[in-house]
């Protein structure tokens, strides 16, 4: 209990590092379909998640069930913009949309303001910190910054969400992604689907 309430980043040392090394680990999501499973507060939803880079430089994320019905269609616009193109009434909750937006922003390496960047060292890991308007996004790498170990969304004191990526081939989208919230029972699992060839 004591451990949960204290600052879990306080013991780490600030170190000199270059944020550009993190940018090199950024995944590519030009066009990919994932099988998605969402477990939230004892409820389970599954379907397909399309991530597509659009000609206007935005990235669209569409979640539909296996039978084709769309749950939501979000647009991550140039800069830090975000647009809800469509959402079913059952999911049209401000807090839920905000959480999904932040989760995907972390995984897509968005909102990485280099002017606010700093790095922390913890034994064999480097925490590359990108402060957000509320909280901090961490990209956690090995000391040489060649391998992304995990990502975290955190308050000022402790992580609230962790994400892991299984990097696919170089220059390709990750094969799998998992997102786990630490303050409530909510997780997302993504596994890449190889789409059927067009006829």
């Amino acid at each position: 209990m004591l451990n949960a309430s204290c600052n879990q980043y306080r013991h780490m040392q600030k170190i000199q590092s270059d944020e550009s090394c993190v940018q090199k680990l950024k995944p590519v999501f030009s066009h990919v379909i994932y099988k998605i499973s969402v477990d939230v507060l004892g409820k389970h939803i599954s379907g397909l998640l399309l991530i597509k880079y659009m000609p206007d430089s935005s990235t669209r994320i569409v979640f539909s069930n296996e039978m084709g019905f769309s749950f939501f269609d979000f647009g991550f616009l140039t800069g830090n913009g975000f647009k809800v193109y469509q959402v079913v009434p059952q999911m049209n909750k401000k807090a839920l949309i905000k959480t999904l937006r932040k989760d995907f922003e972390l995984v897509m390496f968005r909102n990485m303001d280099s002017s606010k960047y700093y790095a922390l060292s913890d034994s064999n890991l480097v925490y590359h910190a990108f402060p957000q308007s509320n909280g901090i996004n961490y990209y956690i790498t090995d000391p040489s910054c060649r391998q992304l170990v995990k990502m975290q969304r955190a308050s000022n004191k402790k992580p609230v969400m962790e994400a892991f990526m299984d990097k696919g081939s170089p220059g390709d989208s990750p094969d799998s992604i998992s997102i786990r919230h630490l303050n409530f029972n909510y997780s997302i699992s993504l596994k890449k689907v190889n789409p059927l060839a067009p006829e």
Partner: protein, 211 residues
């Protein structure tokens, strides 16, 4: 003058319906269709077939395709098994629904979720032929040379928020569904096409078992 007006409105109605569904004409008196359809569906005990599904997202110029197998047994047993490019199994049996993705099984009661219940009933009604009596929809029937098209417009608020309309394409030869087209409010649509249909083949109950 009144006669001319009626003729003109009939003409425009006919042109409109043909423009809406190319090759189809609205049946202003679908009673004959309903009778033949009811007779045929009364004689249909089971259907098994392959299916292909295509979701079209107009704004994203995107199509997502999948294929699988389909079983239906009168009156309310249905099994849809997606095989490519992902595996997903859904069994509806009475008031229960089994969902299996990979090794993960989930059994839910259709009655516990009204929208899920309505959406599932659409599938059962479309295949089983009782959609014309479903009070959740207003039905219009169109005819082409080889098929009928039943257009279902949602009447209940829950479904109105999900679908613009759902169309069932019915083969004139055996009055079974050859395709189900689901149109979302966003303009996206999903078409499920049934191929290699076998009507009234024996399907063991074990196909629909929900443990």
């Amino acid at each position: 003058m009144i006669k001319t007006g009626i003729l003109l409105s009939l003409f425009f109605c006919s042109v409109y319906s043909q423009a809406q569904y190319p090759g189809y004409v609205l049946l202003n008196h679908p009673e004959t269709f309903k009778k033949s359809f009811a007779r045929a569906t009364a004689a249909t005990e089971s259907i098994q077939s392959d299916f292909s599904q295509e979701k079209s997202m107009t704004m994203l110029s995107e199509k997502i395709k999948s294929t699988g197998k389909f079983w239906w047994l009168k009156k309310d047993k249905l099994r849809m098994e997606y095989i490519q490019p992902y595996s997903y199994l859904m069994i509806l049996n009475g008031g229960k629904i089994l969902i299996k993705e990979g090794q993960k099984k989930n059994i839910v009661s259709a009655n516990s979720n009204k929208v899920f219940q309505q959406v599932n009933r659409i599938l059962i009604d479309c295949v089983g032929g009782s959609m014309l009596d479903n009070p959740d929809f207003q039905a219009a029937v169109y005819e082409s040379s080889g098929s009928f098209l039943v257009e279902l417009k949602p009447l209940s608020k829950n479904l109105e928020e999900l679908y613009k309309n759902i169309n069932i394409v019915i083969d004139k030869k055996d009055y079974t569904a050859t395709a189900i087209e689901m149109f979302e409010l966003s303009g996206d649509k999903t078409i499920i096409r049934f191929q290699n249909k076998e009507v009234n083949a024996h399907i063991p109950d074990s196909v629909f078992i929900i443990p």
